[in-house]
């Protein structure tokens, strides 16, 4: 990418065409839209509690974010663990979401 000849500039054409195609397609079809229940529902929550324990360090990585960052990806399900209330094991619900 960061070639000294600046050849990466040649990607501008295909990248621009693809970006414009998807932007317009989404503007017409709105396939990315759904009800934002996380924001638009009346929710009353107690203050969040929790613990933070240092478990290690990372040295000299080139990645700008942690691998598999899903802090803001609320609807991506991760492994569901046993519920304390019912005592029943819950399955992995990685699929169905809006």
């Amino acid at each position: 990418m960061s070639d000294e000849n600046g050849l990466w500039l040649l990607l501008a054409g295909p990248a621009g065409a693809t970006a414009l195609y998807w932007a317009l397609y989404r503007y017409y079809r709105n396939t990315d839209k759904s009800h934002a229940f996380e924001r638009e529902t009346t929710i009353e929550a107690t203050p969040v509690t929790g613990t933070d324990t240092k478990v290690g360090t990372v040295k000299g990585t080139q990645a700008t974010r942690i691998r598999g960052d899903n802090l803001r990806d609320y609807r991506a399900r991760v492994r569901r663990v046993e519920s304390a209330d019912t005592g029943t094991a819950q399955d992995d619900r990685r699929d169905a979401h809006d």
Binding site: I43, E44, K54, V58, G60, V78, R80
Partner: protein, 438 residues
């Protein structure tokens, strides 16, 4: 051959064993076997509280006829733009009861336990038919209403208006209805405005056939859920401690050092009036197969203003019957509660500037309350022919707030041409820049 001298046989011994009609039914919550002696899983199931039903049926409307309280006429309609009912004969107007106050649906969410079900949200009887017949008290004619798509009908002889007001066990009658506020003209204008902004690359056939006056007012079935839950998430987060570059001028690379933390978060929360589609077709939000996400997007509604069920509100509108029970919708509710919990804990993990990777999540739903409701939607639809039966595009207008969302079919070649043209221009500029640099 029986001997005539012998006495007649004794009557059979009265049935009095367990389960016989003389058997006194056990008290609610008691069991013939002490549950303490049973294995844990069975005991838990036996001792779990039964779903509590709140009866929202209107006994006074059971005969299908809704009479004007002033003159007794049955020709009652909803007054557009309001929550009022109006008598077409004497113009008397009155307001339906708000379920929020009548049944206390807005209260006690923070103490909810178990599954509380309003009577209109009960399970659908498997053998219930969609057709309901009424005997007209005016002329004796039989009037049939197909509850799949209509809730009112007029007697073809004496013009009495009938409505499905009894809570029939086929899921057609919800607990409450939210009347239309947005009038048809308004909906047409909104749809026209939405499409006018998307004409350039729209499918030609769509533009040719576009007639927003064909919009239809439909009451769609939803379950409105209150819930009390606790959630916990765990994973790893990273905080950047150092950033540095290595390499020569032309080959510089940035490196990061970070501290890794094990992060756990818990939150208790209540959710008020979360709407879930209770029609299987409408609840299928697979964007590859349909455009139902459009209808989903115009949520939420001001469900606090919903009035007690009265079929007169549906006069002149189409409706769709519910075909999903609470148990079908529970996985979707849990999925949404988990998403809400994740959104709630986000703020508490901001110090992890390299992000957090949640790996486990847990949800305990302490209590839920389910109310079945009809919500008003103006729907304009266009069927695009194609593979596998084509695709049905919707433009939907929220019948209360006017929020509009739609899917406009695209003329692919036009869109590709535009993209290629812009791509070519950009490429030309890039080559020009390279030549200049050389």
């Amino acid at each position: 051959m029986s001997d005539p001298k012998l006495p007649p046989p004794l009557p059979a011994r009265p049935v009095d064993g367990p389960g016989s009609p003389r058997d006194v039914p056990p008290l609610p919550g008691t069991h013939p076997i002490d549950p303490a002696t049973l294995p844990g899983a069975i005991r838990d199931e036996l001792e779990a509280p039964d779903p509590v039903a709140i009866d929202t049926a209107s006994a006074e409307l059971r005969d299908g006829i809704n009479r004007c309280p002033k003159c007794g006429s049955t020709d009652i309609r909803h007054k557009p733009g309001t929550d009022l009912l109006v008598c077409q004969y004497c113009r008397n107007e009155w307001h339906g009861e708000r379920v929020e106050e009548v049944f206390g649906f807005g209260e006690g969410i923070d103490t909810l336990t178990g599954t509380v079900v309003a009577s209109g949200a009960r399970d659908i009887a498997a053998d219930a038919a969609a057709l309901m017949s009424f005997k007209c008290s005016g002329c004796g004619a039989e009037v049939t209403i197909n509850t799949e798509n209509a809730m009112t009908a007029r007697c073809h002889w004496c013009r009495h208006v009938f409505g499905i007001n009894e809570q029939v066990p086929n899921g057609a009658v919800p607990d409450a209805v939210l009347p239309f506020h947005i009038k048809k003209d308004d909906a047409v204008a909104r749809i026209r405005q939405f499409v006018d902004k998307r004409r350039l690359f729209a499918l030609k056939a769509f533009k040719d056939q576009f007639k927003p006056e064909n919009v239809i007012g439909v009451y769609l079935p939803y379950m409105i859920v209150d819930a009390r839950a606790s959630a916990a998430v765990a994973g790893e987060g990273e905080i950047e401690t150092r950033r540095y570059t290595r390499g020569t001028d032309n080959n510089k690379k940035t490196y990061y050092d970070a501290d890794v933390y094990h992060v756990e978060r818990q939150v208790d929360f209540t959710v008020d009036d979360l709407p879930l589609e209770s029609s299987a077709e409408r609840g299928n939000l697979d964007i590859q197969a349909n455009t139902n996400n459009i209808i989903n997007t115009i949520l939420p509604f001001d469900t606090k203003n919903a009035v007690r069920w009265n079929a007169s509100y549906l006069s002149g509108f189409s409706s769709e019957k519910r075909n999903r029970n609470i148990e079908h919708l529970r996985p979707r509710l849990e999925d949404q509660l988990l998403s809400i919990a994740r959104a709630q804990v986000e703020g508490s993990a901001r110090r992890y500037d390299r992000g957090v990777r949640w790996e486990h999540e847990r949800l305990d739903v302490h209590g839920t309350r389910w109310v079945s409701m009809y919500l008003p939607v103006w729907l304009y639809s266009y069927h695009q022919p194609g593979k596998n039966g084509g695709l049905l595009h919707y433009i939907a207008v929220n019948g209360r707030t006017g929020e509009t969302m739609g899917s406009v079919p695209v003329q692919q070649w036009k869109l590709l041409l535009a993209a290629l043209t812009v791509g070519t221009i950009l490429e030309g500029l890039a080559i020009a820049a390279l030549v200049t640099m050389a």
